[in-house]
Amino acid sequence: MDNVLSARALMGISLGFHIIYATIGIGLPLMLMIAEGLSLRTGDELYHQLARRWIRPAGVLFAIGAVSGTILSFELGLLWPRFMAFSGPLIGLAFSMEGFAFFVEAIFLALYIYGEQRLSRRMLFFCTIVLTVAAAASAVFVISANAWMNTPAGFRLVDGKLADVNPFQALANPAWAHEAVHGTLAAYVATGFAMAGIYALSLLRGHRSDYNKRALTLALAVASVSLPLMLVSGDWAGTILAVQQKPKLAAMEALFTTTRGAPLIIGGWPDPATGKVLYGIRIPKLLSFLAYHDTDALVEGLDAFPPGSTPDPRLVHPFFDLMVASFFIMLAAAVWFWWLRWRRQEVPLDKWPLRALLFASPFGMIALECGWLVTEFGRQPWIARGHMRVAEGVTPQASIGLVLLTFLVVYLSLTVGLMILLLRPASTEEVTEKSHGDRHVDS
C-alpha cells in the first residue's frame, strides 16, 4: 500500500475511534450537570442517583479518550512531520489550550467522582458545571486545529517560509466558529441518543422503573433540544462553505457543473467519469436557495476549479446524505416519543415508539462520524487547504504500510480481548447493569 494512503488510513482509524470516546466525554458531563441541578432544585434523590450511576462509564471513557488522544498526538509527528513542521507554530496553540481544558476536566471529574463523602451537593453540582464547560472548551479548541486545515489563517508565506505568524488569528480562523458550534452540539445529540437507546432497551425488556423512565426522558431531552440547533448550525455552516470552501460544497452536493439555480441532489452515486449523478433525486433550485438564500444564485460546481485540486464527490456526497438522513431518523423518533409523552403526560411504554428510539439511537454517532468524514474528505487533496497537499505533509519514512499493519493487529487483538471479556457471564447484578452501559458505548 502506498505511503500516503497508509498514513491516511492509520490516522483515519485512530481518529474515528477517538471521536466516539471524546464525544461521550463531552456529552456525559452535560447530563451529569443537568441531573445534579435537577436534584438540587427539586430535592429529588433519584436524579442524584442517576448521575452517580454514570460515573463508572464516565471514568473509563475519559481514560480511553486520554489514551487514544495520546496516540493521536504521536501520530501527528510519526505520520505527518512535514505538515507539523509547517503548521505547529500555528495550530499548536489550539492543542495547548485543549490540553489545559483537558487537565481541568480531569481534576473536576476526580473531584466529582471521589468527592461524594467530602463535598456538599452544591459543590458536587459546581464540579459538574466546570466539567461541562471544560469538556466543551476542549472540543471547541481542538476543532480549531481542524478548522485551520480547512481555512488556514494567521501567516504569510515568503519563499516557502512562514512569515508574519499570528497564532491567535490562526486559532480564530474563518471556519472555526461554525465547525466548533456544529461539532459540539453534535456531541450532545450523539450522546443523548446513545443513552436514550440504552434506557429504551431497558424499558422494552420490562424494567419499567422510574429510574429508567427518568433517565430516558433526560437523555432524550438533551438530544432533542440540540437537534433543531443542529439544523440551524448546519444551515449556517452550509452558507459559509458556499463562500469559504466552494469545492467542498460542490463535492457534498455532487454538483459537477457550475449551475445557476442549482438543484439539490438527494442520494445517488456521483460518477466523475461522466460528470453525472446516477439515481439521485433532484429538487430544482433548492441548492441555490440553501447556499445563497436565492433560488437563482450561481453555484460553482467541481468544474469551476483546476483539475486535481478538488475532492472526490464519491467520498463526500454519500456521507453528507447519510448525515442528513440520520438527522431525520432521529427527528422522527424524538417527535413520536414527545408527542405521546405530551398527550399522555407520562413516558410512553408502547413497543413501537421505544423500538423507534432504539433504532435511532446509534444515528447520532453515525451522523457525527459522517460529518467528520465530509469535512476531511471534502478538504482533499489538501492537508492545509491551498498551501500544502496531503502528499507533501507525509513522513519521508518508507515503512508506513508496516506501521499501519502493526496497529491493525494491535487494534484487532484488543477488540478480540474486549469481546471475550464482554461475553463472559457477569456474576453480580451490579456488574450486569454496568456492562450494559459499557457494551453500548464501547462497541
Binding site: 495520546t70 503548521s87 499548536g92 483537558f102 467530602r118 484488543l414 474486549l418 456488574v431
Partner: protein
C-alpha cells in the same frame, strides 16, 4: 539565557520530569507486577494494580503536554525527532495502547483484572516496552547520529540501536522500577511494606549501576554528549544525583519512607536534569539547536500567555483538589472505580 526558546525548552524539560515522576512510577508498577514473586506475590500484584489504576490517566496528560509543547514551540525539532525515531516511538505507542486497554478491561468487572492472564500479561509487557522504547528514543537524540541534509532530517534506519541507547532504554525502565515500590512503601504496612522496600533498594542499585555504566559508554558511543556531561555544566548534576541516590538508599534502609520518597524524586529529577543540561543548547545534539528548531517568537509568546492563563486556572483547581482530599487514605477511593485522579497521585506521592 532567558530567551523564549530556552523558556520553551524549560517547559518541555518540566513536562518530562513530571512524566518520569508520575508516569514512571506507573510503568514501574507494571514492571514489578511482572516480577512479583514470593509468598506475597499475589498481594503485591493486587496492591500495585490498585495503586496504578487510579493514577495512570494523569500520566498521559503529562506525556501529551510534552508532545504538544514540543510541536508548538519546536516544530522543526518535533518533526525531525518523530521522523528519525519512528520505530521506537511506534513501539512505545503500542505499549501505551495495551496499557490503556488493560486498564479499561479491568473496569468491566471488579473481579477481573489480574485474574485474566491476557490483561495481566499485556499490562506487564507494555509496562516494560514503553519506558524502554521511550528511554531509547530520548537518549537517541544525544547520539549525534541524526543529521540534516537539505534542511531535512536523515539517519541510518537502525541508528537508534546502540550501546548508549540500549543502556538509555534500561535506565528508563530502572527509573520506573525505582519509583513505584518507593511510592508504595508509604501506602503499605507490615510485610508488604518490607517487600516494597526491598524492591526499591534493588531497583535503586540497578539505576545507580546503569547510570554509572552509561558514562563510559557515552564516551565511546556519544562523545559529544559525554564531553558536555563531564564538563562543568554536567558534573554538578551528576554529583547531586549520586548524593541523593545514596541518600535514598540510606533512608529506605532506615525505614524513613516519606523522606526516602522525596529523595527518590530528587534523584530521578537530577538524572534527567543532567541529561538535559548536557543536551543544551541543542534539541538534537550537535545537529539542531533549540534556537534553530524553535517556532517564531509570536508563537512562543502566545504559548506562554496560554501557559500563564492555564496555570492561573489549574493551580487553584489543584489546590481545591488537594484540600478536598487532604489526609484521606485512598483505599476507599480505589475500590470505587479508580479513574485517574490527580488526588490519588498526590496522596500517593506526598
Amino acid at each position: 539565557m532567558w530567551t523564549l526558546e530556552n523558556l520553551a525548552a524549560g517547559s518541555v524539560y518540566f513536562g518530562l520530569v513530571m512524566y518520569a515522576a508520575f508516569g514512571g512510577a506507573d510503568f514501574g508498577g507494571g514492571i514489578w507486577t511482572a516480577l512479583a514473586s514470593g509468598p506475597r506475590a499475589r498481594e503485591q500484584r493486587g496492591d500495585l494494580f490498585h495503586a496504578i489504576g487510579p493514577v495512570w490517566g494523569t500520566n498521559h496528560v503529562w506525556l501529551i503536554f510534552v508532545v504538544v509543547t514540543l510541536f508548538t514551540t519546536f516544530p522543526k525539532g518535533f518533526a525531525a525527532i518523530f521522523t528519525a525515531l519512528l520505530v521506537p516511538m511506534v513501539i512505545a505507542l503500542i505499549g501505551i495502547n495495551f496499557r490503556g486497554a488493560a486498564f479499561a478491561f479491568r473496569h468491566f468487572g471488579r473481579q477481573t483484572g489480574e485474574h485474566i492472564p491476557f490483561v495481566a500479561s499485556a499490562f506487564a509487557v507494555s509496562s516494560i516496552l514503553t519506558p524502554f522504547a521511550l528511554g531509547m528514543a530520548v537518549t537517541a537524540t544525544a547520539t549525534g547520529k541524526v543529521v540534516f541534509v537539505n534542511d531535512w532530517v536523515q539517519a541510518e534506519p537502525w541508528f537508534w540501536i546502540g550501546p548508549f541507547t540500549l543502556v538509555g532504554g534500561m535506565i528508563g525502565m530502572a527509573i520506573c522500577a525505582f519509583l513505584a515500590p518507593i511510592y508504595m512503601t508509604v501506602r503499605t504496612e507490615g510485610e508488604l511494606q518490607r517487600d516494597f522496600r526491598r524492591m526499591g533498594i534493588m531497583a535503586g542499585l540497578m539505576l545507580g549501576f546503569l547510570t554509572t555504566v552509561e558514562i563510559p559508554v557515552a564516551m565511546i558511543d556519544a562523545p559529544l554528549f559525554a564531553g558536555r556531561l563531564l564538563a562543568s555544566r554536567g558534573i554538578p548534576f551528576i554529583a547531586v544525583s549520586v548524593i541523593s541516590g545514596i541518600t535514598t538508599m540510606i533512608l529506605l534502609w532506615r525505614d524513613r519512607f516519606l523522606l526516602g520518597q522525596i529523595a527518590a524524586i530528587v534523584t530521578v529529577t537530577m538524572t534527567i536534569t543532567g541529561f538535559a543540561a548536557s543536551m543544551y543548547p541543542d534539541i538534537l545534539i550537535g545537529q539542531l539547536s533549540l534556537a534553530a528548531a524553535a517556532a517564531p517568537p509570536a508563537t512562543l509568546r502566545a504559548f506562554f500567555s496560554v501557559l500563564a492563563i492555564g496555570i492561573i486556572i489549574l493551580v487553584p483547581s489543584l489546590l481545591f483538589l488537594y484540600w478536598t482530599f487532604r489526609g484521606e487514605s485512598n483505599t476507599k477511593l480505589q475500590s470505587s472505580g479508580g479513574l485517574n485522579t490527580v488526588t490519588e497521585k498526590i496522596t500517593m506521592d506526598l
